[in-house]
Symmetry: C2
Subunit: 388 residues, 2 copies
């Protein structure tokens, strides 16, 4: 199936992918007078008296804004807000299909950090959560952090945290397959963009001790004072041995390679230089850092990619629907580190010990149990944190 | 039926009134790969190459943002963005039900004119039109005018123009019933807010020559240099005779009274001072300027209100769904005066000459023909203007 051709056809046929539907009847004068004037004045007054009631009388509690400025869309780069709409509508379809959440694409004409923060803050009354999407690094870090300080609903940059949650789940299960300890393994992350950054921080949260990060210019090291502020932040929490060098140097003796970088950058030779039973997550899209068959030939024990045509597809759709579902249910004010860790373990635990093997470390995106399990775990984690 | 109590129940039961639905299937790997990655890259690329294609491959062309800052909601006043959500969701339900348009409520945290313009402009890529709602005068005038200069999709402040279209339709048919000429009649408009302002301008467009406007401080007259800029603008196109005085003076000898003001301000004595066969549109909500039975007793020939429990309900729902449907269909870049006039005549003409009488000058809000007729007329009017 030619997905590109079929996708054009599908989009043109339906003129986009989402619609609005009404949850109430509107067939006669009484319907009109309760759903709209004069009756509608009453829920308005109740919310005006007690703003919390907005969750009782409006759709806010189940509605998520999917906000993008189109600055880093898929592998396409900075194509702008208008051209990003098909992706954001796709995201809305996934939210609906996997978690029954009503998601609204908001694609922006501006790419200015201050404006994006201000706009997202000011449109927040209608929404129960904000999913930031396809916003380029390093702007995405500041936008997420400062926006979260301004609003009392969860803000979640999926390209960072969704990816980090699923990678962490995959790491947890892959280590069971190769029988290694999370606190012992040496990991190399290739790519220091928004996903790489979040993956590193989350791996540290789940107990990984030894990580190095590699970017186009080589291994990030805190002694390199040419690093940008966000690269330096990454260098400071990784590479305790102060290693320097290129990717070839970086992979030597490592137990896991995690690629969020570019096609074909990992060679068979590099794979064979890794520790025993190496695990490779090659997530560049659509073409991975190394093709799974080559990685296996070079000795990789477990291989995962972002693609649906190979085993172990590392796909965000396993995370964000359940994360928001859980957060909305308990009306969490933000997505904490503990909630993300809980989500990762929930995804990992969907695969029962007996079913776990090198080609089955992560559930299929169509496993409809996942979102529910993730939601439960995320909600519980928030409630435990609040109780503290 | 207690609409207030029922409305609270309805809103709490459904937790709001709108949801998002998917127009495409999502049951297997092929569905996921065409609706989302990797296939979705293709419509993105096409739109990036040719931005007009956003209308082919996304929902933009059928999606309207209903934007409010909650500064002038129903008769409730400035209750803010959050408390305004039930009204905006109601509006979305009406858009869907009457014109199959997907409307998205966007309720704002800010009431700053510059910010509202900037936000609406910057979120416009996703939308095919912008319905401004319940924004207080005089800010609403500037917001609408300046926003329309910045975007290439129609901007329509419904409280102004929707009301003006329906009042104009009611005037057209009421004058047929009392057998008077549009160019001869004398009209008094009571209330110089956003609706009053738009009504005056539209009545001038359909050929009314003699209008005076009254506000709390009395008849607007260009010789009064205490008037605010927008009141002065109104005074300059009305009251050629330079009349001064209060409402009692204003109604004397007038053929039509149009009230967009406050309950009970029009007395029976005032009605009896009007010209022969007076027409009264008393649209204050929920309690009109004069109750219909009192107006009739005092000699009114035709009476209309905003209420559904009396004949001749002057209700915006007859206008905005069709106006947007027509504008979206022809991809109009704005809503011109000619389009609004065409909409008014389309609404008026739904009542056939034989059915026209003093209790039937305006179609019922549930007449499902109206939106279609309005859409046709509005689309045609735009195409005629473009052709010029």
């Amino acid at each position: 199936m030619d997905y590109y051709k079929e996708s054009l056809k599908l989009h043109a046929e339906h003129k986009g992918k989402i619609a609005v539907s009404s949850k109430v009847p509107l067939n006669n004068k009484d319907d009109l007078s309760t759903a709209y004037t004069p009756g509608v004045a009453e829920p308005c007054k109740e919310i005006h008296k007690d703003p919390k009631q907005v969750y009782t009388y409006t759709s806010k509690g189940n509605t998520v804004a999917v906000i993008s400025d189109g600055s880093a869309v898929l592998g396409l780069g900075n194509i702008g807000g208008k051209a990003a709409i098909p992706v954001m509508e796709g995201k809305a379809v996934l939210f609906k299909s996997f978690a029954d959440i009503d998601a609204i694409p908001i694609c922006l004409e501006t790419q200015d950090t201050e404006e994006i923060i201000n706009i997202a803050k000011n449109i927040s009354p209608t929404f129960g959560g904000i999913n930031l999407e396809d916003i380029s690094a390093p702007r995405c870090f500041e936008i997420e952090r400062r926006l979260q300080e301004l609003v009392d609903i969860p803000v979640f940059h999926d390209d960072q945290h969704g990816t980090a949650i699923i990678v962490s789940a995959a790491v947890i299960n892959a280590l069971k397959v190769v029988n290694k300890n999370i606190s012992d393994v040496k990991i190399v992350v290739n790519g220091a963009g928004s996903a790489g950054n979040a993956i590193v921080n989350m791996l540290l949260s789940i107990g990984v001790k030894n990580i190095i990060v590699c970017d186009r210019a080589g291994i990030l090291c805190r002694e390199d004072n040419t690093l940008s502020p966000h690269m330096m932040a990454l260098a400071e929490v990784t590479n305790k041995e102060l290693l320097r060098g290129n990717l070839e140097d970086a992979v030597k003796g490592r137990d896991l390679f995690i690629g969020v970088s570019a096609p074909k950058v990992l060679t068979e030779k590099m794979v064979s230089s890794m520790a025993k039973d190496p695990v490779i997550f090659a997530m560049a899209n659509p073409e991975p850092e190394i093709m799974p068959d080559l990685a296996k030939k070079a000795g990789a024990r477990v291989v995962g990619t972002g693609r649906s045509d190979f085993p172990n597809q590392i796909n965000n759709v396993l995370a964000f629907p359940g994360v928001f579902k859980g957060a909305l249910k308990v009306r969490a004010k933000r997505i904490t580190e503990a909630m993300k860790v809980a989500a990762a373990y929930a995804v990992a635990n969907v695969i029962k010990e007996d079913d776990l093997n090198e080609d089955n470390i992560i559930p299929s995106p169509f496993n409809r149990n996942v979102a529910e399990k993730v939601a439960e775990a995320v909600g519980k984690a928030w409630e435990e944190e609040v109780r503290k």
